[in-house]
């Protein structure tokens, strides 16, 4: 049994409670024990680094120091924004011990920072530490028939120097997990475009435009649903979807799932445990495709060549 430190993040108690719940269910099935950081605090998100540099380092640093007091050597973070702030701080502190000491003694005051604990997003942990094969063995009710657009957003794989995971342009880790669950991951060009993030409140128009483009491209890919691993992506694409449809006079009807919700479904958890009732865009239409047979388009000589070229790139 693996053990890992868990940092839920503020939205786990708010808009993304369903993410938190399903992460816990999925990890239990995957034989990973999660130990929550006692009395963790907010990472500071976009606001801290926008306004105040010292605070932007100090808030995540307190969590990193607290995480070192637990015995695990890895911390996993479901929220992409929390993950980015933690990893950003970790890398800067590791590179610059002088700065770490300064921030730690002047601001945090929770004990020495050693840089002992690795920080990984939930996606990265599932992909690297648990592994696709282990995930496959736990699938009892595959979600085959569903066509899915995997949306990573900006912070899970970018900037490369910070995340050190997957491709910043066209990541595939989530696609591979989704395929391990039996679904079909659609080719989707807007995987790492930004949804507008915190402008959701301060300048909603930006989000309607940015998230609108993502929904448009996902629809065009033929997907029945989008899967995400970030609470802000989820709420922008889900909660703002009716506004986007109204503004651009279109109809998308694309439910936005958390990756762990689909994993939990495939692992055989009952539907009522996923908290689908919290979704603004109803999920039933997309879930009705489970069990359908997806007909692969016949491969022409040209198509084969293209497929080959893609695998060569990998």
């Amino acid at each position: 049994m693996k053990k890992v430190t868990y940092f839920p993040g503020c939205s786990a108690h708010g808009t993304s409670e369903e993410f938190d719940q399903t992460v816990k269910m999925v990890m239990k099935t995957l034989d990973v024990e999660m130990e929550e950081i006692p009395d963790w605090n907010c990472c500071g998100a976009t606001s801290a680094h926008t306004m105040n540099e010292s605070l932007a380092y100090a808030l995540p640093l307190r969590n990193l120091v607290l995480a070192e007091k637990l015995s695990n050597d890895t911390m996993t973070v479901p929220c992409a924004s929390c993950y980015q702030r933690m990893k950003f701080t970790k890398i800067h502190m590791d590179e610059n011990p002088e700065l770490a000491r300064k921030i730690n003694t002047a601001v945090v005051g929770e004990g020495q920072y050693q840089g002992r604990v690795a920080v990984k997003s939930m996606l990265q942990y599932c992909y690297e530490d648990v592994g696709i094969e282990a995930i496959k063995t736990k699938v009892t009710s595959p979600i085959s028939g569903m066509k899915i657009a995997c949306y990573y957003g900006c912070l899970l794989t970018r900037p490369k120097a910070i995340t050190q995971f997957d491709s910043p342009e066209y990541p595939m880790s989530m696609d591979r997990i989704v395929e391990a669950l039996g679904a079909k991951a659609m080719p989707f060009d807007f995987k790492t475009e930004c949804c507008g993030a915190s402008f959701s409140i301060s300048d909603t128009d930006v989000v309607l435009q940015l998230s609108g483009k993502i929904l448009e491209m996902a629809k065009e890919s033929g997907a029945h649903a989008i899967v995400v691993a970030c609470p802000l992506c989820q709420s922008n694409l889900d909660m703002r979807q009716p506004d986007i449809e109204k503004k651009f006079k279109v109809r998308y009807d694309l439910p936005i799932f958390y990756l762990t919700q689909l994993m939990a479904m495939a692992f055989g958890y009952p539907k009522d445990k996923m908290m689908f009732s919290k979704h603004i865009v109803p999920v039933d239409g997309a879930l009705a495709h489970i069990g359908e047979v997806i007909e692969e388009p016949k491969k022409t000589a040209k198509g084969k060549k293209a497929v080959k070229a893609e695998s060569e790139v990998e």
Binding site: G14, N41, H49, R158, P168
Partner: protein
């Protein structure tokens, strides 16, 4: 009056380079950042122009532009920059200098963005964690736009998408202390 020197650096360019850890002089104006940036159409000057303005020492113009406030730090630009300039860090350096020196664009959009960040940080100072509903309510009150997003409220609240309360931290006091100390540190580094 705005001065070009900053913390012993003779030029704006030098100061931005030191603060961002990047060399803006490397920029050869290819414009890849502009075509990549998801919000360049909202900016007074897209990233490429900001880079050139820094080289030309147009400090006031940079600080008074909304560009650095619109930067989402999504890092799409820096990922594609052929000169490997950390453009978001450059944007952030200019913005932090503007905050320190109290130079802000006067547009309503930037004021709202700033207010949002202030309210968010205020939630963390008070509760140690974000209190989403209260943050949204305070934003509406402080921007005098009471009915913003009200059409979402019935659905979002009924479905429990946005909970009414917050599970605040036990050591919220420690966070308040951290805020004071961080402010002190920022003052010192000025």
């Amino acid at each position: 009056m705005i001065t070009l020197s900053y913390k012993g650096k003779n030029t704006f360019l030098e100061a931005v380079n030191e603060k961002s850890g990047s060399d803006v002089l490397e920029c050869y104006q290819c414009g890849k950042c502009v075509s990549t940036c998801p919000v360049s159409n909202f900016m007074d000057f897209p990233p490429r122009e900001i880079m050139q303005m820094i080289k030309l020492e147009l400090k006031e113009e940079c600080q008074m532009a909304n560009s650095t406030w619109f930067c989402l730090t999504c890092s799409a630009c820096s990922g594609r920059c052929p000169r490997e300039i950390n453009i978001p860090a450059v944007m952030e350096a200019v913005r932090h200098m503007a905050i320190e020196e109290n130079f802000h664009p006067d547009s309503k959009q930037v004021k709202n963005i700033r207010k949002f960040h202030e309210i968010f940080l205020d939630m963390i100072r008070r509760y140690g964690r974000n209190y989403e509903l209260r943050m949204m309510a305070e934003f509406n009150i402080r921007t005098r736009n009471l009915f913003k997003d009200m059409h979402l409220a019935p659905k979002a609240l009924l479905k429990g998408k946005i909970p009414l309360g917050v599970k605040s931290m036990k050591s919220a006091k420690a966070i308040k202390k951290m805020y004071e100390m961080a402010d002190k540190l920022e003052q010192q580094s000025k």
